[in-house]
């Protein structure tokens, strides 16, 4: 009986100690918070002093926060630390930059067009690829502006400036988000998710089929028009839609060394995409899109009008450092007033796994175009790429990629690409 009583007393003591520890940790936390608040107050004083000094030294008016404070909001001095953030959001422009430095070695005898991307240039070249400046500015709670300005390296270290995206965005709610301006078409997954900043890519370049049209890619990757997207009521299924209407105005260079441009003389396209992101499997996205436009094959005399239809299906899983991307495309060109139809398939599969800082990857890609179509310069190309991305820190990544491309009627291509990609 004495033993039981001892046990009970010990237990009570332990419980008390647990409470005491909790209480002790609370005291320490309180001290830490007080110290932190002192530091914050000092910072506030500094901020206010700097603001006062600025107002003394310049006549420029200070923009006031657009956001009207709530009725129970604390007095002005207490808001000092977050006011700069609010001002920045309301009136400022947020800038981010993305750059790269590449080195590519190839064994091709006859150089094809471009210095990088779909069809690499001469062997052993250094190049800076795309230097992207990305800016956003919030106009109010629902409206904002987004722009992506890219300096592309051409031959002989000349650069051209491209406004890859310029969008006025208005988010009414989760079901209706509108964008007006120049956007990347929502054909499939890759073109919707990845833009110019290669720092975001696991691989050193875009998959062959989704390369930008201005660099010889097969898809109308950009357009000017209206894009509407949002969530459809679907419960845990997470069904989203994307609807676009605009002009892609594609002018793609041939990639077979002839450097002849192909002006597709587009009409206005319509694109409808649907995809699900189910709650049950976070990271999974399954969907597809249907794109239609009328283009012209100006290689023929007189030019022949074509109905261009691009059907996409994709299944993607990105989570826990695992990336599995699978996308298939069917590009269908049907000549008007004729039975002639070209069905041109393309796909890529990419898998990668992040291991600490290194992310090894493997990709296989395939494109097969008809020699009598406007993609007569591409024909059959397919092959694997593998390599690794190594994140030196949160803003700098180094990538090494080996490519083996088999081409119909031409020698196979082997390439090594090294890339230092950075964000700032």
């Amino acid at each position: 009986m004495v033993r039981f009583q001892t046990l009970v007393v010990s237990c009570l003591l332990l419980t008390g100690q647990s409470f005491a520890q909790a209480s002790g940790s609370r005291d320490q936390e309180t001290i830490r918070l007080l110290q932190q608040q002192i530091q914050e107050l000092q910072d506030r004083v500094e901020t206010l002093e700097e603001a006062a000094a600025d107002s003394d030294s310049t006549d420029a008016p200070h923009p006031g926060p657009q956001h009207q404070p709530a009725a129970d909001q604390p007095a002005e001095p207490n808001q000092a630390p977050i006011v700069p953030a609010i001002l920045h959001e309301s009136h400022g422009i947020q800038w981010r930059g993305f750059g790269e430095v590449d080195y590519k070695v190839l064994d091709q005898r006859q150089p094809e067009l471009s210095t990088f991307g779909f069809t690499p240039g001469s062997a052993g070249n250094f190049y800076t690829g795309e230097f992207a400046l990305f800016l956003t500015s919030r106009i109010n709670d629902k409206a904002s502006v987004l722009s992506e300005i890219v300096f592309d390296e051409l031959l002989e270290q000349r650069f051209e400036l491209n406004v890859e995206r310029l969008l006025f965005k208005y988010d009414l709610n989760d079901h209706l988000r509108m964008s007006f301006g120049r956007y990347q078409t929502g054909i499939g997954y890759y073109n919707t998710h990845y833009h110019s900043g290669r720092w975001f890519f696991t691989t050193a370049d875009r998959p062959l089929v989704t390369e930008f049209a201005s660099k010889g890619g097969l898809l109308p990757t950009q357009a000017v028009g209206v894009s509407v997207t949002g969530l459809l009521p679907s419960g845990r299924l997470g069904l989203n839609y994307i609807l676009e209407y605009g002009s892609s105005d594609t002018n793609r260079p041939n990639i077979d060394g002839s450097e002849l441009p192909t002006d597709e003389d587009n009409g206005n396209h319509v694109n409808l995409g649907l995809f699900v992101r189910p709650d049950a499997i976070p990271g999974l996205q399954v969907g597809g899109s249907f794109y239609h436009d009328n283009i012209t094959n100006q290689d023929l005399t007189p030019g022949v009008r074509l109905g261009q239809t691009i059907v996409n299906a994709h299944i993607v899983y990105v989570r826990h450092g695992v990336e599995v991307l699978n996308e298939g495309f069917l590009i269908r060109h049907a000549q008007e007033h004729s039975q002639t139809v070209f069905n041109m398939p393309a796909f890529y599969s990419q898998i990668s796994r992040r291991l600490q800082r290194a992310t090894p990857f493997f990709r296989y890609q395939y494109a097969n175009t008809n020699p009598r179509s406007i993609f007569e310069d591409v024909l059959l190309r397919h092959g694997p790429s593998f390599g690794a991305r190594y994140d030196l820190n949160d803003n700098i990544a180094f990538k090494a990629q080996l490519d083996h491309t088999m081409r119909k009627g031409k020698p196979n291509l082997n390439g090594l690409q090294l890339q230092l990609a950075f964000a700032f």
Partner: protein, 155 residues
């Protein structure tokens, strides 16, 4: 005092001790006092903090206010999103770059500033250690549970 009574007493003591420790770790979901929301599922909370759900039922835009790296709330946030700190940074940079978010979540270094931000933004939402919740803050339930209740999912 018979054996059964003593055994029950011991169990009660352990339960009390464990509850005290668990309550210390619970992290509350705090929103603007004007927000009509009173409960979120963990899946909804994940979508909100991942920037996938961007407006409340009232169409007021969601404003994310988060603590900086190293804080308990940040660890809870990363656990909720199932990401590392590096993945979280990369993820939000991509969200903004894609145009799927106006800006990255506002990062504040203290509970006082969290409170100020939540008061200021009608659509504000943040995670605060349950023991640091002050009167006037609106805490909403997660999966129908409030911080301190057994099985509360955010710790």
């Amino acid at each position: 005092m018979n054996r059964t009574t003593v055994f029950l007493l011991i169990l009660t003591c352990f339960a009390l001790g464990l509850t005290a420790l668990a309550q210390d770790n619970d992290v509350a979901v705090v929103v603007n006092p004007e927000n009509a929301a009173s409960n979120l599922t963990i899946a909804e909370l994940r979508k909100i903090f991942a920037g996938e759900k961007r407006s409340w039922a009232s169409a007021v835009p969601v404003k994310l206010v988060v603590r900086g790296p190293g804080s308990h709330e940040r660890e809870t946030l990363l656990k909720l999103l199932d990401m590392t700190e590096s993945e979280y940074k990369h993820y939000w940079a991509a969200q903004v770059f894609r145009g799927e978010a106006q800006s990255e979540p506002i990062v504040v270094p203290s509970i006082g500033m969290q409170r100020e931000a939540i008061t200021l933004y009608p659509g504000g939402i943040t995670l605060i250690e349950a023991q640091s919740v002050k009167p006037g803050m609106k805490v909403i339930k997660v999966n129908g549970q409030t911080p301190g209740e057994p099985g509360y999912p955010l710790q």
